[in-house]
């Protein structure tokens, strides 16, 4: 159980915690979109909590459940020091799907946030490279939204080198390398 985690968060955020559930030891806290970044920073920097490991960032579309706001962004955090976990959720409305990025807190959230953008169309304010990561560049719409037709495809006609993360110098170095030892 993670009583001290919840107490710590209550001390700091008080009524800003919109909802708290602790099912079978899985602590989940809901917080407003305006304070979620502050909470993530606190979870990482507070010496008692010390959630050094952001395991996943994902999202939920509550469309068929009549959710208001429609989306929720979910952060899964883990502390290597205390062995505790926490799930932080924040609601995101459909007409303004923007959340502050957590890349400045955990660098690992870079690709997670790009995946959430790709699949749900939720943008992360301040992200260094906010673009699709799984679907190709001619893809339209966001596939994991509940109102996206499950088998609607978009064809990629132009070749995509898929390696835009690599710097130009690095790419030249790779291309210069001979791929087959016999042809050397």
């Amino acid at each position: 159980m993670a009583e001290f985690v919840l107490e710590n968060l209550r001390r700091r955020f008080g009524d800003a915690l919109q909802r708290v559930s602790d099912d079978h030891g899985d602590l989940t806290v809901w917080i407003g979109r305006d304070r979620v970044h502050e909470m993530l920073v606190h979870c990482k920097r507070d010496p008692e909590l010390d959630f050094c490991f952001c395991m996943d960032v994902t999202a939920v579309d509550y469309l068929s459940l009549g959710g208001d706001p429609r989306f929720a962004v979910v952060y899964h955090l883990y502390s290597l020091k205390t062995g505790k976990r926490i799930r932080v959720k924040t609601g995101v409305p459909e007409d303004d799907p923007v959340v502050d990025t957590a890349v400045d807190v955990w660098k690992a959230t870079d690709w997670f946030e790009r995946e959430v953008y790709d699949m749900f169309g939720i943008r992360f304010e301040g992200h260094p490279n906010m673009k699709r990561i799984l679907c190709h560049r001619d893809f339209q719409g966001h596939a994991l939204r509940k109102d996206y037709p499950a088998d609607l495809r978009w064809k990629l006609l132009r070749p995509d080198d898929l390696l835009d993360e690599i710097s130009t110098e690095e790419m030249q170095r790779i291309r210069a390398r001979v791929s087959h030892p016999i042809s050397e």
Partner: protein
């Protein structure tokens, strides 16, 4: 391997010794077909679990070398039989097409497993519903994944096709396109 040339019973001039056993006659065309069928060089385009099954086909237990197709090449320029083993997503379609076009003719394509053949259980937003959307396929292998025997059977079927002298599906498509172009030209005249 389908060579049914007649043995020629001749004697050398000035000698009554028979010719060695290994001499036979055939047509050049048949000879080439026999050679092609017996030395397919596979190019594995492996994207998923089917590629693991392909590995066991070329390994010692199933031993594809018995069928003359063990020289696996990872360069399209050195191979003539592409085995697409696994799920091909839309993002990968141009890569598959590019690699296929780099292969020299004559070339054949085996679509291994249901994902490559029809999209399999990925009836979804990201998976091509069969690689024949972009490349002509000669043999389809069902299964998820197909057994090694299944792939070997497909390769044997392809060998039969080559030995019969049937054009590859690639050639069929080329011929059809050429005929259509000719007709369009005639229609203009």
């Amino acid at each position: 391997m389908g060579l049914k040339g007649e043995r020629v019973e001749t004697t050398r001039p000035g000698s009554d010794t028979k010719p060695p056993e290994s001499v036979f006659t055939t047509t050049l065309d048949k000879m080439v077909r026999w050679a092609r069928a017996g030395s397919l060089w596979p190019l594995p385009f492996g994207t998923a679990c089917c590629a693991i099954e392909f590995m066991s086909v070329v390994s010692s237990h199933y031993d594809l070398a018995r069928f003359g197709a063990e020289v696996v090449r990872f360069s399209p320029r050195q191979s003539d039989m592409m085995i697409v083993a696994g799920t091909v997503v839309d993002k990968q379609a141009p890569i598959l097409k590019l690699i296929y076009e780099q292969m020299c003719s004559p070339k054949w394509v085996i679509s291994m497993g249901v994902c490559a053949s029809s999209g399999g259980f990925y009836r979804a937003y990201h998976v091509m519903q069969g690689i024949d959307e972009i490349v002509p396929v000669d043999v389809y292998v069902p299964g998820c994944p197909p057994t090694p025997e299944g792939l070997i059977y497909a390769i044997m079927k392809l060998q039969e096709k080559i030995e019969r002298g049937e054009p590859s599906h690639y050639q069929v498509v080329l011929d059809r396109e050429a005929a259509e172009a000719r007709e369009r030209k005639l229609a203009r005249v």
